[in-house]
Symmetry: C2
Subunit: 202 residues, 2 copies
DNA sequence: CCATGTCCATACGCTAGCGTACGGTTGGCG
DNA sequence: CGCCAACCGTACGCTAGCGTATGGACATGG
């Protein structure tokens, strides 16, 4: 009677992986040593061999998350040359996943935590920076690009929150569904797009 | 030597008020009986006279929050007749407060909690519903109004999150500041408005 | 084949916070 | 005044989770 639960020894990565999983499932509070140990079929003895304390585990999980978020964004980046199409891809991907991005939501929900805050800040600044570049590439001037990037980003944040936390709150059923919404948002974000180079704010 | 801490007896409202305060300050986890008792200069004996358990306290605090959020929105509503101006007011108020809305952020961060979820859902649905009505009043059809309301709402959510959690992440310094941003967002949200597409003030 | 370093289980102590039991105040009313 | 009910303090038990101590298992090279 060998269960699916294998009996091999655990590495620090195994713990970090499980921690990230738990973070997505139950929030930062769920990144707890003893529950995780039980989930992994091990005990605290194993954990405290690999990590100094709980905070180190949280840090490791966040590192994992940060790396993957960044990689994912970069992956989306390299495919398409046209910035407008890149923007469309980003929005489609962001809005597309059914249940949203639980890990990110958990990280954001724990934004007040001292371990979490700097990681989150880095990720967001990278994102906004990328978006600003995108809008500049499209042809907006620096100021207008920053404003549109910020609108795009905040809309992304709010959307993800609604999608994963309160599904069904979105009034999309009578609004043509998600694709129509993405189209609409993109249209608004690109309203009055200049051909290229600079533009003068109204 | 009479301290500022008065010695009068506490009501359930006092506890609920303190709980709401703690919620804003330290999140849902900070709504804890013993710390609050200490903060109020009382003990658990008092608390468990007024409330059955911690969850009842959380419920009371949320009730307080829900009522006030609703009242605040309604208050903003009754002043101005022009829907475009109402929208502008909403955005200006939302973006204006310096440190944001800590209580709301705490509630949203605790969205997975079973006590919190229904309250949050109600508030958000009311908000979105109001926004949809606003955009319809402006002249958009139901579907388009829903989409723009959703964009407005998600942008509001994301903005509040950034403002209170990660101040300084907003790339507004080189984008003309917050008023310019609000103008820009409003312009985009009202792009191609059917009827009286009048907007321009500075 | 056994010794050493790696990895883990068990057992323990400690803390914060929930909830209960119960006795003591306090204040208004008869 | 005196009494009853509302209100509160104190003490207690309980749980979950952190962190430590220590001995044992297990592989692997000498």
């Amino acid at each position: 009677m060998d269960m699916a639960r294998e009996r091999r020894r655990l590495s620090a990565e195994d713990w970090a992986e499980a921690a990230l999983q738990a973070l997505g499932d139950g929030g930062l509070a769920a990144v707890a040593v003893e529950p995780l140990a039980a989930r992994l079929g091990a005990t605290k003895g194993s954990f405290y061999w690999h990590f100094a304390n709980r905070e180190a585990l949280v840090t490791a999980a966040l590192e994992l998350w940060e790396r993957r978020s960044t990689e994912a964004t970069i992956a989306s980046l390299t495919v398409e040359a046209d910035p407008v199409q890149r923007l469309r891809m980003l929005f489609t991907r962001a809005a597309g996943r059914g249940e949203g991005n639980p890990a990110e939501l958990a990280v954001r929900a724990a934004a007040t935590n001292d371990t979490v805050a700097p990681v989150l800040r880095r990720v967001m600044q990278r994102r906004v920076g990328y978006l600003v570049g995108l809008f500049e590439e499209i042809g907006f001037g620096p100021a207008e690009a920053a404003r549109r990037a910020m609108l795009a980003h905040t809309a992304y944040l709010g959307h993800g929150e609604l999608e994963t936390r309160l599904p069904g709150t979105l009034p999309l059923d009578r609004a043509g569904g998600l694709p129509a919404y993405v189209d609409s948002v993109l249209t608004l974000l690109l309203a009055d797009a200049p051909r290229q180079a600079e533009e003068a704010p109204r």
